[in-house]
Symmetry: C2
Subunit: 131 residues, 2 copies
């Protein structure tokens, strides 16, 4: 029975791994629907400690890294080169920027088929407007 359980765990892990690797290359749609999943998970990870943290990390590390990179890339580029549109405070954390994206996507579900880069930009404009 124990062996059957172990086999099941190994099979599940293998499935997750394959799916994860596959999505990393081919299955990424680059839309808001995928982004809200990645960023919600990453935000959860940022707030966790201990074993729960490891468990969350294992769910989709590529997706979380993608969220982290995309949000940083868009926020920094906009903050430095689109100075009339996005003004991120000096003390804003990565978690705050990620949370702004999650909130924006949850509040605007009709945009979930839009391109993820544009959605992050709109979220930054909404959360960190220039006064």
């Amino acid at each position: 029975m124990k062996q059957a359980g172990l086999l099941l765990v190994i099979m599940l892990l293998a499935t997750v791994q394959t799916t994860d690797t596959g999505r990393a290359r081919q299955g990424r749609s680059g839309t808001g629907g995928e982004l809200v999943q990645n960023c919600t998970l990453y935000f959860e990870f940022l707030g966790r400690t201990g074993a729960g943290r490891e468990d969350t990390f294992e769910l989709d590390p590529f997706g979380m890294g993608y969220c982290a990179g995309l949000v940083r890339g868009v926020a920094n580029t906009a903050h430095i080169h689109m100075t009339d549109q996005v003004c991120v405070p000096e003390d804003a954390s990565s978690a705050q920027a990620v949370w702004a994206v999650v909130q924006y996507l949850n509040n605007n579900p009709l945009t979930l088929s839009d391109q993820d880069t544009e959605l992050v930009l709109r979220a930054m404009q909404s959360a960190f407007p220039c006064r």
Copy 2:
């Protein structure tokens, strides 16, 4: 002996995992030095097939996702909103953009302590200039 080998593998995996999770939150420097590692690995992953592909993916999925997201975020934002500076061809692939970043960083090693977002932008300006 076999058991000792298995234990070693498990310990190594646990170490990699912990380091990976730690880097995901705290150890990211956000510089070119880290980016060249992430993007070189991701480019390698994109070109691989079979078991080698899985092995490469396992090395640092968060870092590869970070590269993918950062390059996409900066390239798209610049292409759409900084139209006089970056003109990415319609048929350019993600792999081409990632390769442009790796090449730029390898050709400009003195910039490796600069901020990663700015380096991606410079790489895009260099690889995809507007004529």
